[in-house]
Symmetry: C2
Subunit: 344 residues, 2 copies
């Protein structure tokens, strides 16, 4: 009886030591692979995301949130930023290709990327044509297959709503010029706050117990297989990388997007990836295992086994982050002068 | 100097008394006209909205909120209850006729009614064909021009999402049968809580200072003109009434809805009416003044002057209610077995 009680304790102790040593090594290995945490301290985070020329303030964030959720920024009055970048669903829409004005799908079959943690991307849009969120936010509002609202219409709608005018003044001062770029800037300021630290960040920030053993095994496989050669940095993605390095992507459509003029594609963030199926620029792959294996083939030129894919998936699930708690806004009333929705 | 100081004080005092007496009379007049407040006490409110056979609980409301905001209850995965009943915008969509699956407008040009305070309606839908919210909530999910999801698809989507299953069990017990009616019941339980007391309720509950003098004048005109003959009760509307009593509605379209088989139409609530333009069953009228005057013509057989319409509008603006503060939900992750969005 005494012996049978002692043995498990001894095993437990030795297994604890083993995991602990392994975890420290793994933490160093992850850092060496360029994996970078979202800072645990708010001031460190602000150093990364704030712009001293247009600092993040509570008034701008609250106004930006309203604009983000306001479908009146679209031609029809039916599509908001949140329609395709749904903050309840990992920051995207869960369909293969974005559906916009008049139910028209993106002409290049492009999948809506998540807006969470997009502040950390070095480039915006799948072809990386936009350098930052303030610039990016101007695109979908105007794009005809998306919100389809000319810049002037967006501006006129906002200027017709007295409460919006006073909120812009509160946020930027009485002399603010409320123009289309300022509207986009304000949305971007809200978007900058959509940062989702996860248990993996806790691990990278030094809490080596934050990941389970299975997740640590997955992280090790993730690095060993080479996933972190592109999906790295603080966004665990978000940089421009060559696509189809080793082989052709199996699920391309006719008319499909092929990257920028050098064939480079913005690597998606893997943060919250379990919430943002379907995968790839054209949303053609629905399961994470299949997406992982296809990446092995086309980017790394290797065969990822079922076991390895399952391990990596277990790690990726630990990238699900803690979302900012948002009060659903009450949007300001329009006036009799507000330009009406149009459906043409 | 003494005199000039005294006169205004005397005038003020007498004007106070006058308003105060008038306010008490007006309060009684409003009650006599059938205008009923949302109870100030939660227990009194619960007596009106709760169903002892399926009591409102925090777990049901939280789950119902998630379902209300979840676009995966639609065929495409893009349309939630909140799309047409947007809780940020007075509980409706701000467009003339509801736009549903594949961007198809309601075939009868029907305008989405607000979901706020709908628990107080004696009938649901414009033709009153549904007796309560649990029954009503089954309609739009399945209707082909709306969310277009067969009952079985809705059920399969929910049953494929483990976190939803556990939330149903938490809300109803482990033996719960998660079927389509139960899903609709849960949405309805959330909707029951969407009650918005306003300053007019404070007035009806005895605080005669809650309305401004202009709003009191408007209320008096509202009653004198006969608006409260239909727009009365706790919902200030929400009952079936004959339509086009005195004259034909000027803004009907071909194929327009003409009421139930007796020509009766569900009277819209006037609560939050300044947030829910455009007006009428077909959303053909954008300004409240015009809507008020048209109602005078077709229902009351009277000419409402510009001045009277402005007075009534001032009163109606006081019906803007205090909305429940809602945390935007984080929706549960789907699984590999979740039926995919379809766009046919």
């Amino acid at each position: 009886m005494h012996l049978s009680k002692l043995i498990p304790i001894a095993l437990l102790a030795s297994s604890f030591t083993a995991v602990s040593v392994q975890a420290d090594d793994l933490l160093q290995k992850a850092k060496n692979a360029g994996l970078t945490p979202i800072p645990a301290s708010k001031s460190e985070l602000l150093k990364l995301i704030d712009d001293p020329k247009d600092p993040i303030t509570a008034a701008k964030v609250e106004l930006g949130k309203k604009l983000f959720f306001d479908p009146r920024l679209s031609r029809s009055g039916l599509i908001s930023c949140n329609t395709c970048h749904n903050l309840a669903m990992g920051g995207d829409d869960g369909v293969p290709a974005a559906i916009g004005h008049k139910w028209v799908a993106n002409p290049h079959h492009l999948n809506s990327p998540t807006v969470y943690n997009s502040v950390f991307f070095t480039a915006q849009f799948w072809d990386g044509r936009s350098p930052h969120l303030s610039d990016q936010a101007q695109g979908p509002m105007q794009a005809v297959p998306e919100m389809a609202a000319p810049a002037n219409l967006v501006k006129e709608r906002i200027l017709s709503i007295p409460e919006y005018i006073s909120e812009f003044k509160s946020a930027y001062g009485n002399d603010v010029e409320i123009d289309f770029p300022k509207i986009a800037d304000t949305i971007a300021t809200f978007e900058k706050t959509l940062v989702t630290p996860s248990r993996f960040d806790d691990f990278l920030n030094g809490d080596t117990t934050a990941l389970t053993d299975a997740e640590k095994t997955g992280l090790n496989t993730y690095i060993d297989k080479g996933c972190s050669s592109c999906h790295t940095g603080i966004a665990i993605g978000g940089t421009m990388q060559p696509f189809e390095i080793a082989a052709k992507y199996k699920f391309a459509h006719i008319g499909d997007f092929t990257g920028d003029d050098k064939g480079m594609v913005k690597t998606p963030t893997l943060r919250n990836i379990t919430e943002t199926a379907p995968y790839y620029h054209n949303g053609a792959i629905w399961t994470l295992e299949e997406a992982i294996k296809e990446m092995g083939s086309i980017q790394l030129g290797i065969q990822i086994t079922d076991k390895e894919a399952a391990e990596i998936k277990t790690f990726l699930a630990a990238l699900k982050g803690r979302k900012p708690v948002l009060t659903y806004p009450q949007l300001p009333e329009e006036s009799d002068n507000t330009p009406r929705p149009t459906f043409d």
